[in-house]
C-alpha cells in the first residue's frame, strides 16, 4: 500500500532536490505544495515554480513527543526554511536534534527517507543542515 505523499518535490539526481511550488502569473504569489488556484488573488492557472535546493534556516524545533498518526517517531527536528524573501516552508530536517543549529544557516533540500513501513522505505523532502 502506498502512502499518500503528493508530488511535493523533485529529486534532481545529484543528491539535492527542489520543492514543487506554484506561482500566480497575475499577482506573483508563491504557494507550496503545488496547486492550480491562487489563494491570494483567487485567480486560477498558476505556473509551476521550484524552491531550492538552497535555503536559509529561519526557525526550528526538536519534537520530543509522539504525534498522533505520525510514522516518524520522536525525537525528530522540524525547520522553517526561507527560499526567496518571505517564501518559507516547514519540513523535516535530516538531523534528529536541533543541537548546534543556528538561525540563518544554509540548508539544502534533499530527498530522504521519511519512514519505513512494511519493509518499504517512503521518501520525503528534508532540509539537510
Amino acid at each position: 500500500m502506498s502512502v499518500a505523499l503528493p508530488d511535493l518535490y523533485r529529486d534532481r539526481g545529484d543528491g539535492t532536490a527542489v520543492l514543487a511550488a506554484s506561482r500566480c502569473p497575475v499577482c506573483g504569489f508563491v504557494v507550496f505544495p503545488r496547486q492550480p488556484w491562487c489563494p491570494r488573488c483567487t485567480g486560477t492557472g498558476t505556473e509551476d515554480a521550484e524552491l531550492g535546493p538552497a535555503g536559509t534556516l529561519v526557525a526550528f524545533t526538536g519534537v520530543h513527543h509522539p504525534a498522533p498518526g505520525s510514522k516518524v517517531a520522536p525525537p525528530y527536528a522540524v525547520g522553517l526554511a526561507e527560499f526567496e524573501p518571505g517564501v518559507r516552508v516547514a519540513g523535516l530536517l535530516t538531523v534528529p536534534s536541533v543541537e548546534g543549529l543556528r538561525v540563518g544557516q544554509a540548508i539544502t533540500v534533499v530527498a530522504a527517507p521519511a519512514f519505513e513501513e512494511r519493509d518499504r522505505v517512503h521518501d520525503t523532502f528534508r532540509f539537510r543542515t
Binding site: 526550528f60 524545533t61 524573501p85 518571505g86 517512503h122
Partner: protein
C-alpha cells in the same frame, strides 16, 4: 453590533476532566447557570447556538434534551478554537439585527487529552510528523526568541503569571501557583516549549444569555453588559499555521488575530488603550506574547518588556488572562471563548472576587486556532 446586544447573564461548568459527565450534562449545567444568572426561564429563549468541536450530529438539540425541547432553533458551530466565539458572534448578530430578542450562546466540549489528532492537516503532513499544532507553536516561539529577544525564562513567566491568577479561579483545572523553576523543569514537548508552557485540552462548558436592547430595558437589569463588538476572521494565505505547510509574506497580509482585532476595535469605536482587561488565547506561552502585539496591547517587539513590567499580571495596568487563561483553566475548545466571556462579565460587574480588576469598564476576549479561525469580542459596562 449596531442595533445593540447585551449579555444578561453568564454560566459555567468548571473546566477540568469529568469522565462521568457527558457533553449533554456539562452543557446543561452551564446553560442552567446562565439562565439563573440572567433571571430568564428557558421558555423565553428563542434559539441556541452551541460551539463544539468533537461531538457528533445534532449535538445542539441533544443538549436541549436536558433543559427543554421547546422547538427553537438549535445550531451547532464548529470553528476550531474559535467555535465558542463564533457561536457568541452569531447569536449576538442575530439579536443586534432584530431577528430575536433572547438567544443563548453555549460552548461545550469533552476534548481528548494531549496532542489534538485532527486539526485539518493533509495526510502527508500527519504521516511525516508535521501534522500537530505544537510543532508550529514551537516554531512561532523560536521566532519570538530570535526576532524579539524573548527568553525561555519569559516563556516560563507567562505560565507562572497565568497560574498565579488561575489559583484564584474555582473554575480552573489547575488551581495551584507554579514557579519558573517548575515550568522550566517540566517535560520538553517541542523545543523551546515545555509541558507547562502548553495548555491542556479538557472538558468544560460556559454560556451567555444574549438579549436585545429592548429586552434588556424591559427587564430593567442593571447587571447587563453591552456587547460592543464581536468579530470573526479566518486565515489569509501565507499564515504559517494549521494546516498550512508554507508561509508567504505579502503586502496587505495580516495575521487573523490582528485582522479580527481591527474589525472589533473599529466596530466598538475604541482602541486597545481603552480596554481595561483582556482574556487572550494562551494556547502556549509564546501565543500570549504574540497576542499582545496582534491585539495592539504593545508595540511590535515589546511583548517581553511588557511582561517583565508586570503590567499584564493581575494587579498590573494591562491585565491579561485574570481568569488564569487556558494555561491554568485548560482548553475545552468549543467552550473556551464563552469561558472568557464569563470571566469578563464577572469583571465588568465587579463580581470577580479576588481576581477583580479594579474599575474594569471595558473587556476584550480573543480566541484563535486551526484555520486561523479567530474571534474578538469587546464588552463594556
Amino acid at each position: 453590533v449596531s442595533g445593540g446586544a447585551y449579555v444578561l447573564g453568564v454560566g459555567i461548568h468548571p473546566f477540568g476532566r469529568f469522565p462521568d459527565l457527558d457533553y449533554r450534562a456539562l452543557g446543561e449545567a452551564a446553560l442552567r447557570d446562565a439562565l439563573d444568572d440572567a433571571g430568564v426561564g428557558f421558555g423565553d429563549v428563542q434559539g441556541v447556538f452551541i460551539g463544539n468541536v468533537f461531538e457528533g450530529m445534532a449535538k445542539a438539540s441533544n443538549v436541549l434534551e436536558r433543559v427543554g425541547l421547546t422547538g427553537v432553533p438549535a445550531i451547532a458551530v464548529e470553528n476550531a478554537c474559535a467555535s465558542g466565539g463564533s457561536a457568541f458572534a452569531l447569536a449576538t448578530r442575530f439579536v443586534a439585527a432584530g431577528a430575536y430578542d433572547v438567544l443563548v450562546a453555549l460552548g461545550v466540549e469533552k476534548a481528548p487529552r494531549g496532542f489534538i489528532a485532527e486539526s485539518g492537516y493533509h495526510t502527508w503532513q500527519i504521516e511525516t510528523g508535521l501534522g500537530v499544532n505544537p510543532v508550529y507553536f514551537a516554531l512561532q516561539a523560536h521566532r519570538c526568541m530570535t526576532e524579539w529577544g524573548i527568553t525561555v525564562e519569559q516563556l516560563a513567566d507567562v505560565s507562572v503569571k497565568n497560574h498565579a491568577a488561575g489559583a484564584l479561579n474555582p473554575n480552573a483545572m489547575y488551581r495551584e501557583a507554579m514557579t519558573r523553576e517548575e515550568v522550566l523543569g517540566s517535560k520538553m514537548v517541542c523545543e523551546p516549549l515545555r509541558l507547562y508552557m502548553l495548555c491542556a485540552p479538557n472538558d468544560g462548558a460556559a454560556a451567555a444569555v444574549i438579549v436585545s436592547e429592548v429586552e434588556a430595558r424591559r427587564r430593567g437589569s442593571n447587571r447587563a453588559v453591552r456587547v460592543r463588538a464581536s468579530s470573526l476572521a479566518s486565515r489569509m494565505p501565507g499564515q504559517l499555521f494549521i494546516p498550512a505547510a508554507s508561509e508567504m509574506q505579502w503586502d496587505g497580509f495580516r495575521p487573523s488575530t490582528a485582522h479580527a482585532a481591527r474589525l472589533a476595535y473599529d466596530e466598538a469605536g475604541i482602541g486597545p488603550a481603552d480596554v481595561d482587561v483582556f482574556e487572550v488565547q494562551d494556547t502556549d506561552s509564546a501565543s500570549e506574547l504574540v497576542a499582545y502585539e496582534d491585539l495592539g496591547i504593545c508595540e511590535p517587539g515589546e511583548a517581553g518588556a511588557l511582561l517583565d513590567s508586570g503590567a499584564t499580571a493581575l494587579g498590573g495596568s494591562r491585565p491579561v488572562n485574570p481568569s488564569g487563561g487556558l494555561l491554568s483553566k485548560g482548553e475545552p475548545l468549543g467552550a473556551s471563548a464563552l469561558g472568557q466571556v464569563h470571566e469578563l462579565v464577572l469583571q465588568l460587574r465587579g463580581e470577580a472576587g479576588s481576581r477583580q480588576v479594579d474599575g474594569a469598564r471595558v473587556g476584550l476576549a480573543h480566541v484563535v486556532g486551526a484555520g486561523g479561525n479567530c474571534s474578538v469580542t469587546i464588552l463594556s459596562r
